[in-house]
């Protein structure tokens, strides 16, 4: 006897939909036979668009891949190209790029924690509902998000798809007066960030330990953002240029996003993986706050990602404050580039995890070939593995609505960004 149930969520009337996803779930004799996270957003072909383009165009083009993490795309690109050109932009550029990146982490993580994830853990269907019961928490989150955007604007000219970054540095250096105001805002936000970390740790997070491999960058003496080696919780430790030796992508018929694997296995990138692998690189006040949270890191509970995000907001504010102290305007905000041919590798830590770029450049600095591996592509197989585990643990005899809610919660917890697709789930459950 076959019983087929179907749940349809209504498509929103006014939301800015950036893509669509669906989940197919087939259960036989109480066991999952098929579980597919289907991404049917059309391919965006950015890698092809880059072919034949001048190296100067690359940072502005790749920024358009994502409205939430454009800085990450710009940073992976400029580091790659500078690597081929043997260009060393110097300490001012290095420090200010890090501040720029802090802004993106702060705004992206604040958005995800408050607008997307927290309602799941507090039992609300949206942040608007949650805001009636938790107005101060939501206001604090919105203020942090706005501050992250402001940091991006100061260095990038605007907060969405910033245009300030270039190969060799920045087009413009902020004035001392601008930076003084910004640093005051950053410092004023620190108590709120510390309180946010404690607040996320106090949420009623499901207790669900899983077996997974964490992958992140690791730097000799700082929390990873722009530089480092790729390491894993399984002992991998490689230069970024060896990524393709160990990591591969493949296509599944049901998804327009590629699946990445590490030596054939799913793996995790993102805030929880970063904290798990770089706990000792966090600023001391953040480590102490995590210690007080009662949650032990490294953690195998994927739902601790929200706490990791809050820890990274706290860290990013401390880091930005440190780097902006005694700020001086440089003689020039960039170092001129002399093109060379070669294969360029760039890997930085986007808010959602490892963002790996490779460019083949000719002698004039034109892109012959580009490859971009975004974080969510790397997490896609892990999300499916998590869904399988989480739904089986919860009980497949639960009604469709309960299964759908848990599935959405699991997916949202990764802050997926494959064309931002996985929020409008049409879940088809087939029970036999």
């Amino acid at each position: 006897m076959s019983q087929s149930r179907e749940i349809r969520l209504c498509v929103p009337v006014l939301a800015r939909v950036e893509g669509e996803g669906a989940l197919d779930l087939e259960v036989h004799d109480g066991r999952i036979q098929t579980l597919r996270l289907r991404i049917f957003e059309p391919p965006r072909l950015f890698e092809k668009f880059l072919e034949g383009r001048e190296y100067q165009e690359v940072p502005d083009m790749v920024a358009r891949i994502c409205g939430i993490c454009p800085v990450a795309y710009q940073m992976s690109a400029v580091h790659a190209i500078e690597g081929v050109f043997a260009l060393a932009p110097g300490p001012w550029v290095r420090a200010m790029r890090r501040v720029f990146y802090c802004g993106e982490w702060i705004q992206s993580h604040s958005l995800h924690i408050h607008l997307l994830a927290a309602p799941d853990f507090l039992g609300y269907s949206s942040v608007a509902e949650m805001a009636r019961a938790y107005p101060d928490a939501v206001r604090r989150g919105l203020a942090l998000q706005a501050l992250g955007n402001e940091i991006i604007r100061v260095f990038g000219g605007r907060s969405v798809h910033p245009v300030g970054a270039r190969v060799g540095g920045f087009h413009r250096a902020p004035s001392r007066a601008e930076v003084a105001v910004l640093r005051e805002q950053v410092q004023a936000a620190l108590p709120g960030a510390e309180a946010l970390l404690a607040w996320t740790a106090s949420l009623n997070l499901p207790n669900d330990a899983q077996d997974f491999v964490s992958v992140a960058l690791r730097h000799p003496d700082e929390y990873p953002m722009n530089e480092g080696r790729i390491v894993s919780s399984d002992g991998l430790d490689i230069p970024i240029s060896d990524y393709e030796v160990h990591f591969s992508e493949h296509q599944e018929p049901h998804s327009t996003a590629l699946y990445a694997s590490l030596d054939g296995r799913p793996y995790l990138v993102g805030p929880l993986a970063r904290v798990n692998l770089n706990l000792d690189r966090l600023h001391a006040p953040v480590r102490e706050a995590l210690g007080r949270s009662g949650i032990a890191f490294p953690s195998r509970n994927m739902f601790h990602s929200i706490v990791a995000r809050a820890a990274e907001i706290h860290h990013a504010l401390l880091e930005a404050s440190r780097l902006l102290e005694d700020y001086c305007e440089p003689e020039a905000p960039f170092v001129p580039a002399i093109p060379r041919s070669g294969t360029a590798y760039g890997c930085t830590e986007a808010p959602r995890g490892l963002l790996w770029h490779r460019y083949d450049l000719d002698g004039a600095g034109q892109v012959r070939h580009a490859r971009i591996v975004p974080p969510t592509s790397q997490n896609q197989a892990r999300i499916e593995a998590d869904l399988r585990h989480s739904l089986e643990t919860m009980g497949l005899d639960r009604d469709d609505e309960a299964l759908r809610q848990r599935a959405e919660m699991v997916i949202r917890n990764y802050d997926p960004c494959i064309s931002c697709a996985t929020h409008f789930l049409t879940v088809r459950v087939e029970q036999r």
Binding site: L115, R158, F424
Partner: protein, 211 residues
């Protein structure tokens, strides 16, 4: 802080910048100068999401201009009073925190201006969009009327410089709202929608009439 904020909402994507272009046209034509200095401020917002709330904070009237795709002919204007929308008209998408969600959040936090209006401008390729100056000329009296109604004051007569209306101003609307534009809106069920398809008689400065 200006009591009236006119916010062009959009993105650089072709067609989704219509709200920006109209806001710029109104600014260029001098709409803020029609009122006492500091009363009306025009801003362009790039997919502001929740940051729409600080952009409206402290205002008595906020007017949003945004591209719309509802199946109506390009250039059709629709006016929505956001008080008519309820919280169920939109769901969150992971990064698609749009105007409806920002309004719902603003209501929950009691941070919305007393009056928020949105003008949806139908975008699209066929038939071609009327000239921006025509659309701005239709918006001009409507927005001035909104401001007068909200603030009850009007001083300093000012003749805007949009140029003439060489073409039919706006095509007739047709059909029910359908698919909405990636960066725009379409009217929600239950919301009161006013379609502007002609210039109200006597409301337009002489400069506009049939020239």
């Amino acid at each position: 802080m200006s009591p009236v904020r006119i916010l062009g909402i959009g993105s650089p994507v072709a067609g989704d910048d219509l709200g920006w272009r109209l806001a710029e046209a109104l600014e260029r034509a001098g709409l803020p100068r029609y009122f006492p200095a500091g009363m009306v401020h025009i801003t362009l917002c790039d997919r502001p999401g929740s940051l729409l709330l600080p952009a409206m904070r402290g205002a008595r009237l906020a007017i949003l201009l945004d591209a719309m795709r509802s199946g109506a002919p390009p250039g059709t204007l629709r006016r929505l009073d956001m008080r008519e929308l309820d919280d169920s008209t939109g769901l969150l998408s992971s990064h698609g925190f749009g105007v409806a969600e920002a309004m719902a959040l603003g209501r929950a936090l009691e941070e919305l201006p007393p009056r928020v209006l949105i003008y949806g401008i139908e975008t699209g390729q066929t038939p071609s969009l009327p000239p921006l100056s025509d659309l701005a000329a239709i918006l001009w009296p409507a927005i001035i009327g909104d401001i007068q109604a909200s603030l009850g004051r009007l001083v300093m007569p000012y003749i805007p410089l949009f140029g003439g209306l060489e073409r039919a101003t706006v095509v007739e609307p047709r059909g029910a709202p359908g698919e909405h534009h990636q960066g725009g809106h379409h009217p929600a069920q239950g919301a009161e929608v006013q379609v502007l398809n002609e210039v109200p008689e006597g409301s337009l400065p002489t400069k506009f009439r049939g020239q």
